[in-house]
Point group: C2
Chain length 111, copies 2
């Protein structure tokens, strides 16, 4: 089918899965890393940086923006994108919450 049965899962599980999709493509990882490093962050730089077409990068930026991970403001004719600190912190919290659920199996290792 190709359609995810979201109704079977909790809102938290669906949300986390959506956010993880931001990281689930190397271009988006690269975009995020660039924005994390950059002082200024103008869209056009990304087209030169990555080897993808302008339309493709614009599409990835839109996805990240829709998820709330980045935000952009108009800077004359170009766009200025940057990380959204609040969402960034939320993602870190949600993921570390998951990571911290793991307790090392002291006696009862099942495999």
């Amino acid at each position: 089918m190709g359609i995810t049965k979201s109704n079977l899962f909790t809102e938290e599980q669906n949300d986390l899965a959506s956010l993880a999709k931001a990281f689930a493509h190397p271009a988006r990882i690269a975009i995020i890393q660039y924005l994390l490093k950059a002082e200024a962050c103008i869209n056009g730089h990304l087209v030169n940086e990555l080897g993808l077409a302008q339309a493709t990068i614009s599409q990835h930026l839109k996805e990240l923006k829709t998820l709330g991970i980045i935000k952009g403001t108009i800077e004359g004719a170009s766009m200025s994108y940057c990380i959204n600190p609040e969402k960034w912190a939320e993602m870190q919290r949600l993921l570390n919450e998951l990571f911290d659920m793991y307790k090392n199996p002291s006696g009862n290792s099942c495999c």
Copy 2:
């Protein structure tokens, strides 16, 4: 096209994207959360837990296993799956490395 241009990105970026795909579906999140909580961890329990067909769950388990996030051993007629501690720690490290790249923009907030 639908094909990711992996050659444009670093190995680290491609690896991180692959690992993030493990989290990019609510069923896999649910499976991971179940294994994190469970003492014993038998495949069949998951079919009762989630509302998906057995074949579908088996497929998600295979993906997680291929990524190295879980490992399974044969337990009689059934399978015993659990989190792979090494990979789990690696994922946490890689993601926190990314999260920690963010420095709050003191003076030069661009948007």
